[in-house]
Amino acid sequence: MNRLLVLFRRLEGPQTIGRGPAFWTMFALVLLVACAFPLLTDGYTVGNTVYFFVWVFIALSLCLIWGYGGSLSFGQTAFFGIAGYGYGILTLNFGAAYGFTLIALLLAVGIAALFAMLLGYFMFFGRIAGVFLGIVTLAVTLTLERFMAQTAGPEWHIGVARLNGFNGMSAMPPLTIPWSGGDIVLFADVGLYYLVLGLLVLVYLGLRVLMNSAFGNVIVAIRENPERAEMLGYDVRKYQLVTFVIGAALAALSGVLYTAWGQYITPSSMGMTAAALPLIWVAVGGRSDLTSTLIGTLLVLAVFQALTIYGSQYALVFMGALLVLTVLIAPGGLVLAVMNQLSRLATRRIQGK
């Protein structure tokens, strides 16, 4: 009971914006609207919103590693792809009966996390940091894309699952929950919406607790001054590795949910564009805070999709322009700047009274 209370208290802290009744009332209202959303709109929009939600996990993973930890990683896309392919290979081979898709989800995330542990071990214990970390992780991502793209031949298969080169894998079963009255198949519709929304709330709150804990303190300290952190007795590389693996698991969760949502995964999901886009969402939102990252990602995704529908190729150019604009106007993130401005206005009003 006492321990639970400590966890609750850590939902607020110096590492996360938003505290007090006003913030949590707003949070509850938004959550309420999100819960009622499928009742108010059509099936297509619900499925599309799930698509947006799916990407938030990879954005939060980047927020953790880059924003809080200070290491720019292009590797999130690689973990996304590994987990996506992992889910495909597992479910195409073993089917969806007895709730196996849920086990496949966990296994795929686990495989990606294991890969991240290996990669991270060599990077952090090899003292690779700063821009070189970005270069190594980008190289890993692009290598994976190139490798998967050349697996078109029939010799490239794992069990019955063909890798299919550039066309990618498809027709894996969606997530299925075993139920006494018959399995519940979570197509990209209301069912999947509530599952992903639930996961999102859990991950968001979980990360808030993590970042405001002693562990989060050390992560931020390493971003600010790794030498000082080490000289306070913290094994910096171990902390960096653990953060990297947690981030990789979150990116992997994105990958699995994406694959289960669309029932396909292709090598281009690990390409240059795919690796750059999450960076833009997170940078525009405000990488040093979970809430601004979450809001920013959803906003930019919605704008990007609208532009893709009406302006096709210009959408990517707009993304580039948006990134440049962010760096020039609000280097900490546009959404974060607006949030800070709002909270300043609010405190001024309270003090004025």
């Binding site: 400590v6 110096p14 002693a214 050390v218 001054n225 030498e227 080490e230 000289m231 007795g233």
Partner: protein, 238 residues
Amino acid sequence: MALLELRRLNKHFGGLHVTNSVNLALETGEIHCLIGPNGAGKSTLFRLILGEYHPGSGDIYFAGENITALKSFARIHRGLSVKFQVPGVFKGLSARQNLEIALQSRHRGVALEQEIDRLLSFLGLEAEQGQTAGNLSHGQKQWLEIGMAISLKPRLLLLDEPTAGMSPEETHLTGEMVQRLNAEGMTVLAIEHDMAFVRQVARRVTVLHLGQVFAQGSIDQIIADERVAAIYLGQAHA
């Protein structure tokens, strides 16, 4: 018994012999100052003691244990602590959070908050606790970092130019702080250029020159030593 002992410590950077067979023994409970002209190898010696550099040859003993192969964080766990030359605070975080990060592995919950308050008042930084550390004055940053270093309750405190950039009053206050810590049982090794500070605190002084121990003794002996005056004036080669 010596708390810290350096035995024939060597460090090369390419052809540059920055630490040349240094022998140094630090007694438990003393305040020892390390002086010497720029480039004498003082900061390098600190980095060797802390494990940021690894010696080409020689050994480092701490409380009788050979720590030459230990990683930095492990040496901190043994009872070493440091304040760097350039204030190494967490600039983007509040002064309070800086101390929390230093203290959190020893204290938890209410005890942690109390300990932070106690340290803030010891450092005279209560009013600044909410400020971002990067916005503090130079002297306040120095004290904040000293606070972080001593919060670990080290057996040996390494201070690299603790009074650099401080006014004479601040320097004197820092000297008193060091003496108070020493009275509580902390052994101190300080690199310092400010002779007033050295005279105020040091029981023994070691002069480093060109990576070697050049002279050792009380402050009066060192000041009386003409050879020491000569190297400071750049005449050692003459």
